[in-house]
Symmetry: none
Subunit: 403 residues, 2 copies
């Protein structure tokens, strides 16, 4: 798709806003038969849907529940099956670590092992984040041949390990097996190279684990580490050049800022509330022509399994729609990165409603922004990485294919 689109891109002055409501899609609550979107009072979104082309986005494939990485990469125009981002990299992006090309990142857990070295708690009793911060400081002192070692706290028992090549050691490889046996009563596994080139890295990581064990001996319950999701930054075609846009990302949460940065968007400084995000957009309206705007509350409520809180989050968001429309984007998209149905209290595989407004979006019969209504929309059910071509077309930023 990117190969087809890129040569067709033309210049224009049109403005695009893509609003991602994290975890947007839901499921009916058994007592009422109505989903969160069907329960919420959303006068502004309904009015917008009536003027828009609507549909459902399937982010990865039928039945596949997307993580935040693939969910957003799809919205940014990248086929999430083709461009995969490892867990270690996502975790590093999630704390806005300045990950560089060639760095190998892994997700780390502090865990508890017994006297025989067998895992008794994979999360070390979810130690407080302050303890995590102190323990990562201990691990930073570990020295490994030919690489710089970064150990960064995340939250509770989670941390990020990054190894960065030094001097002429040659390229590092992230093709390494995990140490987490995903089972209690077993010792952590040694890291194995998954390609011959990764042999040196496996030795280094095993040395790191041994050193970590020694340094954590007195730190029970966090007396050992587990490492998984070794990976390097993927080579992604850059968003600004591929789509001919000056893109800006506005997101209060670091993970989404990291994902936007990964594809080459400019990440704007903003506050922690959505009102501040909207103010940031207003302020920078003229300097960019593509805005990715992220709303987190819907996902948070869904993850908590709190149906009413998700309804409330949707209604709060609805109140911002007039303000966003007043900025007069030429293309305005409202959708999400994945479903987070409250009844699942987790990400879901369900397709996600999308509305696309432009002067040229065409009419469709949908006049409510719900899962059920959007299923009958003119956009149909489509893969997330087809959204950007539609957005560009509606922004009159694509020329004809073939004479």
């Amino acid at each position: 798709m990117l190969e087809v689109i890129a040569p067709l891109v033309i210049t224009n002055t049109t403005k695009i806003v893509v609003l991602s409501l994290d975890g947007l899609a839901g499921l009916p609550r058994p007592e009422t038969g109505r989903s969160e979107l069907e329960t919420a009072r959303l006068p502004n979104l309904s009015a917008l849907a009536a003027e828009s082309a609507c549909g459902l986005i399937r982010h990865v494939a039928p039945g596949i529940t997307p993580g935040s990485g693939p969910g957003h990469l799809g919205l940014f125009g990248y086929d999430p099956l083709r461009y995969q981002v490892g867990r270690g990299v996502l975790e590093a992006l999630g704390i806005e670590f300045d990950l560089r090309a060639g760095d190998v990142a892994a997700r780390g857990n502090f865990c508890t092992v017994d006297g025989a070295g067998r895992i008794s708690d994979r999360r070390a009793g979810r130690i407080p984040t302050e303890v995590c911060v102190k323990l990562t400081e201990r691990l930073r002192g570990i020295r490994l041949p030919g690489v710089e070692v970064f150990v960064e706290p995340v939250k509770e028992h989670r941390f990020v390990l990054v190894l960065r090549g030094r001097g002429k050691g040659g390229a590092l490889s992230g093709r390494l097996s995990e140490t987490d046996p995903q089972q209690l009563g077993k010792p952590p596994l040694p890291v194995k190279p998954l390609t011959p080139k990764a042999k040196g890295m496996a030795q280094r990581v095993n040395a790191f684990v041994a050193a970590a064990k020694a340094r954590l001996a007195d730190a029970a319950p966090a007396n050992m580490v587990l490492l998984r999701g070794f990976d390097q930054l993927p080579r992604l075609p850059r968003f600004p050049e591929t789509f001919g846009l000056r893109p800006a990302a506005i997101a209060a949460y670091p993970m989404y800022r990291g994902l936007a940065k990964l594809v080459g968007m400019e990440v704007l400084k903003t506050g922690g509330t959505f009102a501040e995000e909207v103010a940031t957009l207003r302020e920078h309206r003229d300097a960019y022509d593509f805005f990715f705007l992220h709303y987190k509350d819907t996902d948070k409520a869904g993850e908590d399994g709190d149906f009413d809180a998700k309804v409330a989050a949707l209604e709060r968001l609805d109140g911002f729609i007039p303000e966003l429309r007043a900025l007069e984007p030429d293309v305005f998209v409202v959708t999400g990165d994945h479903a987070t149905p409250s009844v699942l209290a987790a990400h879901g595989w369900q397709p996600v409603p999308v509305l696309l407004w432009s002067r040229y979006c065409g009419a469709d019969p949908v006049n409510q922004f719900t899962e059920r209504a959007c299923a009958a929309g003119s956009l149909g059910v489509f893969p997330s990485h087809h959204l950007m071509p539609l957005v560009l077309a509606n922004a009159l930023r694509l020329t004809k294919f073939g004479a």
Copy 2:
């Protein structure tokens, strides 16, 4: 798709009519909220839609605006992303030039250059076609080593250059860069070979341009040429053998006759009006089993941005539907090659309504032939090259896949 379909094709005596309404799909006029199809009185198409399976065709990919070439190749069963036809070839087909395998064709413009050789008008003030005819006669005299040179007028400043190999010079290559810098104030670019094999051709084309400049020195404003879209006939699986059909094309405009010929259809002689096209179909009903019938007026009105004229073109076409049904095709398809919304006054990326009638098409809820109604049809939104398999199936011309 073709590889799957071809081995399943079986013989039958059923008749198929595919009616392509050029530029069919439109967009709502802001004042009424209704598209051209929704505004027109189309009693016959509505009745036919009510008895047909309906849907929307996406010709290339979401957001992609198809040119006439890819738009029609898709309807003929060829994936337009896989089978691409260059601009030079399309231009040659558009004047029904007898382009042969191996010929290299380019689109030419007469242009104006100043004393220093810099382009001051890329279209030579759109010289009248009569002047174009005279100037191409001058250029025909140019001789190049190892090739025959054809220079054919098109319309206004446009012409076609074709180079045909002579004797044993080996195969010609069309992998050449363009001479049009697409900018005023710059001189035309020299042609460069895009593969080592195209070196000889680049020399010949540069020699042609130099000779053309000399012969046009006194012909201002048309005192120079620009060449682009060098290409050769693509290797397309032949339509008659692939689909087991005796196909005939009925089209008043040369471009569509050329495209039909390209895939191996027989092009029937017809008059300039749609009534004459329908008469031609009636006359040849028994001699063929697949008819591609082309209606141009819808696209012309759309390109002119004339909403009312497009509505009128649709209503005129509607009047022919009973006559076409009276010919009792076993499969009758009405669709288009791309959208030409009047509000865009150009081709658009919007999917195009399709109706497919046969005794076996199944029921669906659609009883109007409009963009909005067809979005809810049982055929869904599908790629254009999936139409032919559906057509063949409904004509009982495909056997089972797998035992």
